[in-house]
Symmetry: C2
């Protein structure tokens, strides 16, 4: 079990309020830990919100394996009835994760303002897998899977006070943040769209961070970033997970310095991707100032539309977009193959990306929720199961289309709208 050694120190049920003065302990998680290791007299005391009978105790003395509130499941130990709040629960990933989490017995709540449905409609597109309205989805989840989802329609940017009420009511133990506008081309339409995407994403998330500080400071935010934050440096240097590793060294002027822990340079290729970088800085700083905890998930391109839950009933399906605004590349290729039009490769197709299947992404999210960061910890996970050039992906889709489904698939090159080097090395690190 990957998380059996974690302790109450990582658990969102810990109550540190007023018992640990982080500011007095020094600047960083690292310094704090060093102090803990070196100074015998330095001790942390906390209480447990779920087990008040413990009184004041050392939160590093009880592991998940030992605590009766954490229970074994195929994904590791899970906090019994853990309260998970999903921001953007109506989307491709949000809805899928809600059912996935619910089927694991967690208490799922969620908010959405249906913006995704509106953006897609605005561009004259629509999900090619028909989806139900939220009320029907919720009813079906209860009828078919016996999952009760506590949903509220809230705009996280413009209804800050309603979100405050909901978070205060739910007291989530993990917040999964899918509530941003996820389209690079949408952000590049014009000034209005660029400003809208950055406003919606960056300021919405900043507001959530303040609410977490005020209401649920021990809860972790698991936030969707993108591998696109990094760009694809032509030197071929590795795409580390957010920060330089401890043994990365800067050499200049015959001198050397460790770069360990510093954010790796970003080179986002659109105003949408920039919004994710802008988020990164706000989240890093919220962890530093307020000892919030966060996993930033730099996700590769997701594909597929199947999990056991969303496939259990037509009313439970999740959306699938294949248009040029909100569609992603594998889903587009497959759709193009099926309807018999050529697969469109932008430019040479030598661009390399990381990929992950929908079901694998759900498993990753589960493990992250089950293994929360420490207070003050900001950690990055590059989430992919492998990488490949777009041309290879197209070829594979064409091959499978021909051989297994007897489809006459063609590949067509079109001009690349992005300012990017199409030929580039790619060495992503994805150990976390």
């Amino acid at each position: 079990m990957h998380n059996k050694e974690k302790t109450c120190w990582n658990c969102p049920a810990i109550d540190l309020a007023g018992k640990v003065d982080f500011r007095a302990c020094g600047q960083s998680v690292e310094e704090f830990r060093k102090k803990l290791d070196l100074e015998d007299s330095f001790q942390i005391m906390a209480e447990c919100k779920r087990r008040p009978e413990l009184g004041l105790y050392d939160p590093m003395s009880i592991t998940f394996e030992e605590c009766p509130e954490w229970q074994k499941c195929p994904h590791g130990y899970l906090l019994k009835n853990m309260r998970v709040l999903i921001l953007g629960i109506d989307g491709y990933l949000g809805w899928t994760l809600a059912l996935w989490m619910g089927s694991l017995g967690l208490e799922v709540s969620g908010v959405d303002n249906y913006n995704r449905r509106d953006w897609v409609k605005e561009r004259g597109a629509h999900t090619i897998v028909p989806i139900s309205r939220m009320s029907e989805r919720l009813r079906a989840a209860q009828e078919v899977l016996d999952i009760n989802i506590n949903f509220r329609e809230i705009d996280i940017l413009n209804e800050h006070d309603r979100l405050r009420e909901f978070i205060d009511e739910v007291k989530p133990e993990a917040i999964v943040h899918y509530g941003e506008c996820p389209s690079a081309p949408y952000s590049m339409i014009d000034a209005e769209h660029a400003m809208y995407v950055q406003k919606n994403n960056v300021l919405g998330t900043l507001g959530v961070l303040f609410l977490m500080r005020d209401l649920v400071p021990e809860t972790s935010m698991i936030k969707l970033g993108t591998m696109g934050e990094y760009g694809t440096p032509l030197t071929g240097r590795p795409l580390f997970e957010g920060m330089f590793p401890a043994d990365a060294v800067l050499k200049w002027d015959n001198r050397e310095w460790s770069l360990g822990g510093e954010l790796i340079p970003r080179d986002p290729p659109s105003f949408y991707h920039i919004s994710k970088v802008q988020d990164t800085y706000n989240i890093v700083e919220a962890c530093k100032y307020w000892w919030l905890r966060s996993y930033d998930v730099m996700q590769g391109v997701i594909y597929g539309v199947h999990t056991d839950q969303v496939s259990a009933d037509p009313r439970l399906r999740t959306r699938l977009d294949i248009d040029e605004w909100f569609g992603t590349v594998v889903n587009r290729f497959v759709a193009q193959a099926i309807i018999g039009i050529p697969l469109t490769l932008h430019g040479t197709g030598e661009q390399i990306r990381g990929f992950i299947a929908l079901e694998d992404a759900m498993q990753c999210m589960t493990r992250l929720i089950a293994s929360p960061p420490e207070p003050g910890q900001y950690a990055v996970v590059n989430q992919m199961s492998g990488f490949s050039s777009l041309r290879e992906i197209a070829k594979n889709v064409a091959k499978i289309g021909k051989e297994e489904f007897n489809l006459p698939v063609k590949i067509q090159r079109v001009e690349n709208p992005r300012v990017e080097s199409e030929r580039h090395p790619f060495e992503p690190i994805y150990e976390n």
Copy 2:
């Protein structure tokens, strides 16, 4: 003369529209230049907006020294009657620069929405140098210094269309962007202020970039950043000017890569400082996508209140804030010394910062305006004349106060509200 070798390629009077297809030339300024150097048949042709009689010609064939539109002055060659637009012209730096530029014979225009006056009032503070209303300032500039400033009251974020009209009317040849909210503590008050500062700064600037693309793509934006973007890494690695230099090398896993040209890691200490980092990414990308040009000025702490122009008449004075929200450290110390209260050092006072006098900052800005970047070039200037710990600054102010003005100056330590390491190395690079 520092800029005599620059050519029409750098000049904002160049008209490249439709004559150079940057997209077809490759991705980057570097690749473009390489192509220019290596391929004989590869040639750029342009026209001059100021000298249409030149027809189509090679813009690298005429230097500033050779062009009659560029005239010698003590700050290098200056473009005759150059049209300079100052965003935030009512502020400490904006107003000072307007008069400075006007006295050099440039055509100065400016916009402001008087937000700075409102923010300071909101915090219960006020400028300790009394300043006039804009109408009086403009009249005095004309009467006393014979400078005509073309001013319009515009909110650059919320009046995008009015700003469009003004830029289209003025057709600025350089845009100096001082139009952001410059206070770290103001951004840390609460969620509302944090979101306001990032919205005002980042989205306002993003809107300006789109207008430049549409209306004045050869004009450079000289934008105020802050040395605070970098933070103060405890390893003591140098604070390069925005990007790693070409000879900076990453060593990891027994391999090496050049980091040259990649943005150096940022570690901004407040939501205000983050807004500057967020701007950086938008500006970098606008230069990359649209071949805009920009100098990002990472300014040290400015001090002082004198230039010949602002001192020429009481109505021409620029503001001086010494409160805890908008005051900066040297100005505060001096004011505290004069009114006889202790100089307040936050924490140990061992924090090191870069500093620059108001008049020196104006000279730097003049040189930057006189030496525009190339199309597509994003360059960073760390602007300071030296650096020092806050404690040394306080000691110096106390010493001068005692010895030269017979003031009984005391220094008092108060708690440091920032999450920062007070003891840190500091090696800023400021070659540009």
